[in-house]
């Protein structure tokens, strides 16, 4: 799975995810990324792209839950994303997300996640574990 989220200087957000799915999956299996709100979501609060085991991501509505926690509970992006990752079965999910005010977070509960980010203030990061 691959994905990207971005926000511009006006707070406009977008999210995109693409995947081949699981190795040795059954033909006809639908994974996480095409289900809006499961592996991919964006609104005026944040943009989220998830990766991992699609079935778990669908069951947990990972991407939409991050946005909902921000919208309904007033959590920050980092708090909301960490909350969702903590409550999804360990070893199953990772996500990248940005908020309308330019925050970035990239939590995961798998061993690793290939990831990268950058912000306008000059911060950038590339990581695996």
């Amino acid at each position: 799975t691959v994905g990207c989220v971005a926000v511009d200087g006006h707070g406009i957000l977008a999210s995109a995810t693409s995947t081949g799915g699981l190795v040795n999956k059954m033909a006809g299996r639908i994974g996480d990324t095409p289900i809006i709100g499961a592996g991919t979501y964006a609104n005026s609060y944040c943009a989220v792209s998830a990766t991992g085991k699609g079935e778990s991501i669908i069951q947990a509505t990972v991407a939409r839950d991050v946005a909902a926690l921000m919208e309904y509970k007033g959590l920050s992006l980092k708090e909301a994303a960490a909350y969702v990752i903590e409550r999804t079965p360990k070893g199953n999910v990772g996500l990248v997300a940005v908020s309308a005010n330019g925050e970035v977070t990239m939590p995961f509960n798998t061993t690793g996640m290939f990831r990268a980010c950058a912000t306008e203030d000059g911060y950038s990061e590339i990581g695996i574990w």
Binding site: V5, L22, K25, C46, G102
Partner: protein
Amino acid sequence: MGWAIALHGGAGDIPLSLPAEGRAPREAALRHCLELGVAALKANRPPLDVVELVVRELENSPCFNAGKGSVLTTNGTVEMEACIMDGNTKKCGAVSGLSTVVNAISLARLVMERTPHIYLAFDGAEAFAREQGVETAHSSHFITPENVERLKNAKEAKRVQIDYTEPIKGAIPSSIGDSQIG
């Protein structure tokens, strides 16, 4: 408030012992895609364009499990999926079950922008791709020797794998535990 971008190339049981020849090209691809996205944001491209641009580049890299290098079904075929969403309008588009479309993410965007629907799959999605004239390729274009080997290992272990799960050489299926995640 300022621009920001984040991207991923998949998660999973990535071993800490991942050799340099497995690690370096993926880090280079991540860096390249990040630079591409940053340049686009600095050029004031809309975020929707930026995420599509970056994901297309990730799809084109055989280092990751989408597009070229897509993982294989139990039948040895590819069935690719993609989804895109505009936070400003909440418009979205998705595709599943693609076997010939080079950049599934761009087809997902066309579903969003040129149909009254949000999700097309399998034969319908392939027909829409041809109608829209997007780039297609024989399904062999997406299949790499590495993924053929991964499917072989997964079948031997009788399991499905999320991204980058290390093969268990000679494992007895009943000893694997949760076979869904390896």
